[in-house]
C-alpha cells in the first residue's frame, strides 16, 4: 500500500500513534510527529512511498516533536529525535521537514555499516549505475534532479549504497533538498517537478525539497551494477570538460569521500579496487546544465 492511498486522517493517525512505517530503498523508517504542518507536507511529499509490512523490521525510529524553550518562550521550536536522542539543536517549526530529512540522512550515514556508503549522487541509465561523487555544495542534488527528469532512474542525490561483496548498488530515492538559487533553476528547467514548500533560514539557507519521480520510487528494490564514475564540479562560466581520470586518483577520491571506508577496512579496500577497475572514470567541469546533460548522455549511451 502506498502512502498516497491513505486519507489525510489515516495518515495523521499513524504519525501521531504507532508511527508511519515507510519503505526507503533497502531500509524501513518509522516516523512519529504531531505537528500538523509537517503531517500535511509529508502526506504530499511521501505519497509514492510504500508502507512497510507489519512483520518487517524497521531500522530507524525517528520523531519530530515540539520543543519548549525557557529562553525563547514565544518561539515555536521543534526537535528531531532518533531512538530518543537529538543530534541537532532545536529549530523553528517551519524547518521541521528539512530537519527530518537531514536527520534521516545523518542516521543512515552514522549507522549503516553493512554497505559501503559513498557521498554521491547515484543514477541509473541503460541498466547501469552512474556514480557522481561530490562534496556538499558541489551541486550534485541539482544535477541529479536534472538527470532524473531526463530519463535517468534516481538512486539517490546523497548516497551511493554499495554491497561490498557483490558490487551491487541499491537505490535510496529520498526527498532531495534544493538550496537557494538551485530552487529557481529547477523551477525554470523542470516545471513538471513536484517541489515542497520553500523553507527559509536553515543552516544551508533556503531549502525546497523535490520529490523523486514515482517510477524511481517504485523501482527502489532494483539494484544495479556500476559502470561509470564521474566527479562533477560546477564552476561559474567554465567551458564543459568531461575528461578521463586516472584510476589511482579515482580510488583516492572515492576512499576519502566514503562515509565508512575506514570502518569497513579491508572489505572497503577490495570493494573500491573492484569498483574503480570495473568502471570508466571521468571528471566533469561544467557551468551549463544542458551541455553537461548532453555529455553524460553520450557517456552512458553505450
Amino acid at each position: 500500500m502506498k502512502v498516497g492511498q491513505l486519507s489525510l486522517d489515516e495518515f495523521h493517525a499513524l504519525l501521531i500513534g504507532q508511527g508511519l512505517r515507510v519503505k526507503m530503498g533497502p531500509f524501513n523508517l518509522s516516523v512519529q510527529t504531531r505537528l500538523p504542518l509537517l503531517i500535511r507536507q509529508l502526506h504530499q511529499m511521501y505519497s509514492h512511498y510504500s508502507l512497510a509490512e507489519e512483520d518487517e523490521i524497521v531500522e530507524f525510529h525517528v520523531r519530530v516533536i515540539p520543543k519548549h524553550s525557557i529562553r525563547q518562550p514565544l518561539a515555536r521550536l521543534i526537535r528531531f529525535e532518533v531512538d530518543g536522542r537529538s543530534p541537532f539543536p532545536p529549530v523553528p517549526v517551519e524547518q521541521a521537514l528539512a530537519t527530518l530529512e537531514w536527520g534521516v540522512n545523518l542516521v543512515i550515514a552514522m549507522r549503516i555499516n553493512h554497505l559501503l556508503l559513498f557521498h554521491s549522487a547515484t543514477v541509473e541509465r541503460n541498466g547501469h549505475v552512474l556514480l557522481l561523487p561530490a562534496w556538499p555544495g558541489s551541486g550534485k542534488t541539482t544535477l541529479s534532479a536534472m538527470l532524473m527528469h531526463r530519463g535517468y532512474r534516481l538512486f539517490s542525490d546523497e548516497f551511493g549504497l554499495m554491497a561490498p561483496e557483490t558490487g551491487d548498488f541499491f537505490p535510496l530515492p529520498r526527498l532531495m533538498p534544493l538550496k537557494n538559487q538551485s530552487i529557481e533553476i529547477i523551477r525554470h528547467y523542470l516545471p513538471e517537478a513536484v517541489l515542497g514548500p520553500e523553507i527559509p533560514g536553515t543552516l544551508k539557507g533556503t531549502v525546497a525539497h523535490i520529490r523523486p519521480p514515482q517510477a524511481s520510487i517504485e523501482r527502489a528494490d532494483e539494484a544495479a551494477q556500476p559502470r561509470w564514475i564521474v566527479f562533477p564540479k560546477w564552476v561559474a562560466g567554465a567551458a564543459l570538460r568531461l575528461e578521463s581520470l586516472p584510476q589511482s586518483e579515482a580510488f583516492l577520491l572515492l576512499a576519502t569521500n566514503a562515509f565508512n571506508y575506514e570502518v569497513l577496512g579491508e572489505a572497503a579496500f577490495d570493494a573500491v579496487t573492484r569498483l574503480v577497475r570495473g568502471c570508466e572514470c571521468r571528471k566533469l567541469v561544467y557551468s551549463d546544465f544542458d551541455s553537461a546533460l548532453v555529455a553524460l548522455d553520450e557517456l552512458t549511451d553505450g
Binding site: P246, Q247, S248, F251, A255, Y261, E262, E266, F269, T273
Partner: protein, 95 residues
C-alpha cells in the same frame, strides 16, 4: 647507525595503478597511497635491514638519480613516517 626493516611486508595488500599504488595494511586497517619510490622503499627494506645511506644508494641506482643531501633528508622523512605508521621497524646496530 640505525637500520630499518619492513618486517610485515608480506602481509600488505598492494594494488598497482600504473605508477601508483594503494597499499592496505591489515594491522592498522589503513590504506596508504604510494608512488613508485614509496613502494620501492618498502620492497628494498623487505629484503634485509638497511641503513639510510645504503637505502639512498640503492634507490638512486634503481631510479637513476644523483643522490644529494636533500634526497637523503627526504628519504629520512619517509622512513620516519613509515615507522610511525608501523610499516617498517627500526633495527639497532647492536641487534
Amino acid at each position: 647507525m640505525n637500520s630499518w626493516y619492513s618486517s610485515r611486508f608480506s602481509l600488505l595488500r598492494i594494488e598497482s595503478w600504473e605508477s601508483e599504488f594503494t597499499v592496505f595494511q591489515p594491522e592498522s586497517e589503513k590504506t596508504h597511497f604510494l608512488n613508485e619510490m614509496g613502494l620501492q622503499i618498502l620492497v628494498m627494506l623487505d629484503q634485509s635491514p638497511t641503513s639510510l645511506e645504503v637505502l639512498c644508494r640503492k634507490l638512486s641506482e634503481y631510479f637513476t638519480l644523483q643522490p644529494d643531501a636533500q634526497f637523503l633528508r627526504q628519504v629520512a622523512q619517509i622512513l620516519q613516517r613509515y615507522e610511525a605508521l608501523g610499516l617498517i621497524e627500526r633495527v639497532k646496530e647492536s641487534e
